[in-house]
Structures are given as C-alpha cells and as structure tokens.
Assembly symmetry: C2
Homo-oligomer: 218 residues x 2
C-alpha cells in the first residue's frame, strides 16, 4: 500500500486491479452467478467452495457468510430455478391448434426438448439428480415435476384423453425419452445409433417421439 505513494501515481486509471466492491448484495450476486456458471459449465464435479470463490473473485469465507456454505448456495440456485418449466416453456401453442391429446403430447415433446437444449444449467442439474440423492436435489426434482404437471394442466385446456389411456405414465415416458436424448447428446452426440448433433438430427428425434406420443392416443 505504501508503494502507491511514489510510483503508482503514474497510473491513476486503475489498470487491472478490480478492487473489491464492498457491496454485500452485489457480492452475493457475483457468488450466485459464479455458482450457476460453474454448475452449467462443468457440472457438479466442478462445483466446490474454492472453485466458486475463485470464479466469483472473492474469498470463500463470504460463501459461508452469505449463503451458509455450499448447501445454502445450492438451495438458492435451486430456488431460483423452481419455476423453470413455466418460465422456459412457452404457453402459447405456436399458432397451432391442439385438437387432440396427441397434438398436446407432440407439442410437449417439442417444447421440452427445445427448453432443455437451450439451458445448460438445467441439464447439469438433471444429471446431478441421477448421480446422487441429497435433500436439495430432491427438492429441485420435486419442484420440476410439479411444474411440468402444471404446465400440462394449463395447456390441456378442455381436451380429454381417450378412456383407458394412462396419461400420467404416458406423459412420463415422453418426458423421459426427451430428457435422456438431450442429456446423452451433450456428452456423446448420439444415442443408440441415432445421431444427435445437427438441427436435422433433432428434428428427426423429436419427430419420432411425436409419432409415438400421437399414436399412443389415437
């Protein structure tokens, strides 16, 4: 600090030093975003106190102070993602009329695939959910399941499924297929011989899901 008296005055424009902000909410925000980014980029493996602090450009102690540790940070991120389905899956019907329950399922597959493919963070969290079972994760999964259910409820409108169709199970299957395909695509770029890279690949995959969903309700 005393070195600034003589020579540092020659560079008054604060060259690189990114001085600490000394603003609690802003620092909280930086930590939060660092956590999100880290999770989105490297998954839960790259997620740790030290890594987050490094990325946020502050001391890890602050993570404990402001979030009560990693668990608290995860909770905060999870809470922020609670309404993810509603936020990221549009409610309109994209100009189409949903005349049948099959139409609805087809649209669900499309939208869900698009939403997942557009959001790295949620993909990582989905994988995380498969890797271990902790309270936070369970809560997040639960919130998402409820969100999906609500979304379907809203989109359904007055449509009624054919008698004898197990809509809960069929919904789950459609969602499961889409989800697995998207997750697998990230690391391997294909699944069971089906390439999943280009936009055309995805059109093909979604079309297959749609065909099955539609047929199941015919």
């Amino acid at each position: 600090m005393n070195a600034m008296t003589a020579e540092a005055v020659e560079t008054p424009a604060a060259p690189e030093k990114e001085l600490p902000v000394r603003d609690r909410v802003q620092t909280q925000g930086r930590i939060f975003q660092a956590g999100r980014a880290l999770l989105a980029e490297g998954g839960f493996q790259a997620f740790g106190v030290n890594a987050v602090a490094r990325k946020a450009g502050c001391d890890k102690q602050l993570i404990y102070r402001y979030f009560g540790g990693l668990d608290g940070l995860v909770d905060a991120i999870g809470e922020d993602l609670a309404g993810w389905v509603m936020k990221h899956v549009p409610e309109d019907q994209g100009g189409r009329f949903l005349l049948t329950y099959g139409d609805l399922m087809e649209r669900l597959a499309e939208l869900y695939a698009d939403a997942l493919r557009a959001d790295p963070l949620i993909r990582r969290i989905l994988v995380w959910e498969l890797s271990e079972s902790s309270p936070h994760i369970a809560r997040m999964a639960d919130a998402r399941a409820k969100g999906i259910a609500q979304w379907i409820e809203r989109m359904r409108g007055s449509l009624t499924p054919p008698k004898g169709a197990d809509t809960v199970a069929l919904n789950a299957v459609v969602i499961a297929a889409v989800q697995q395909l998207v997750l697998a695509a990230e690391t391997s770029g294909s699944f069971a011989g089906l390439p999943l890279k280009s936009q055309k690949d995805w059109a093909r995959a979604v079309s297959a899901v749609a065909r099955m969903a539609r047929a199941a309700y015919a």
Copy 2:
C-alpha cells in the same frame, strides 16, 4: 516382527490377519472386483485409487502395477462389460411369438428395463456417461450401442417395419425412455409424477412404453 517369538506362538491358528495372498492373478482379481463393487455401490464419485486399494485390501501401488492406474482399471471393467447387452438380455422370445414389429419393440422395452434394473453397475456407468466424456466412457457407450443394434438385428428375424417408419429413431426413443426411467428411479423413486418403486409401478411404466412403441408401428 520379533514380537512373534515369545507370545505369538500361543495363537498358531492365524486369528484375523488375512495375510497377503502373494498370488498375482488373484490379487488382480481382488482389485478388479473391488473396482466393480465400488463403482456399483457409490458410482464414479466413490471411485478412486485409494478407495479401490482400501476395498481390495492391498496397496494402491498394485493398481498401478497391474492395471497401469485407474484408467487401466476402468478399461478392464469396461472391456468385461462389452458384451453386456448380449449377456443380460435373453435371446428367446419368452414363449411369445413376435408377430409384428410392434411386438418386437414392446419386448425390447421389457427386456431392457429388466436388465438395467437387475444390474447396479451398468446403471452407474450409464450415469457416468452422462456426467463426463472420457475416452473409456466413450468406448463403453459405443460397445453398448453396437450390442443393442446386434440384439435387435437378431430378434428381428424376418419381421419388416412398416414403410416410412424411422426404425433407428424409434428404437432410440424407446431405449431412451426406459433408460431414463430406470436411472431416475434409483435416486428419486419416481419420475414426472410417475412412481417407480414397486413391481406394479414398473409394470405400469413398461406398459406405457410398450403401448407407445406398438402404436407407432401400427
């Protein structure tokens, strides 16, 4: 060591000490099995040189000597699992006739679900594949994809799919749905509101997949 002269002779029956085996192949086997078990129980997170050595009851150095490190061990395990699909999915038709392509897909879903549910190790590896992409993992995934393709080829016999059906994509979707459901069941016990615990739950889920698969080929 010199303490054995006077007092240790009173316990000649080797009470607890599990002396080292000094048999290379057997020790290799113990390491191998320890790796498998560790992977099956705790997933790739619990998998490490120290953990394997601990479980195998030997020094970790031997892992480097006999397998060339963790990577080598993973390769060995992966190689052993190469023909997994063929080994664990029966070839017969369980007394049924597969009259249509839809029958085939339904049977595929059933068998694949059973096989996955019966094998913790393969489930962990599947999750691992979603979590990161390393050469080993890629090789394992590839081998499995080929195995599935071969199995279908064999089961198919002389059945021909309807014209206009994208069999590769439809296969992938069925496999994807089953896989996601099985993996999700392990940690959360349900998926998108569909419970996946009891045998009845599974019958319901597989039935939904089967209905969709069958319908898609109708």
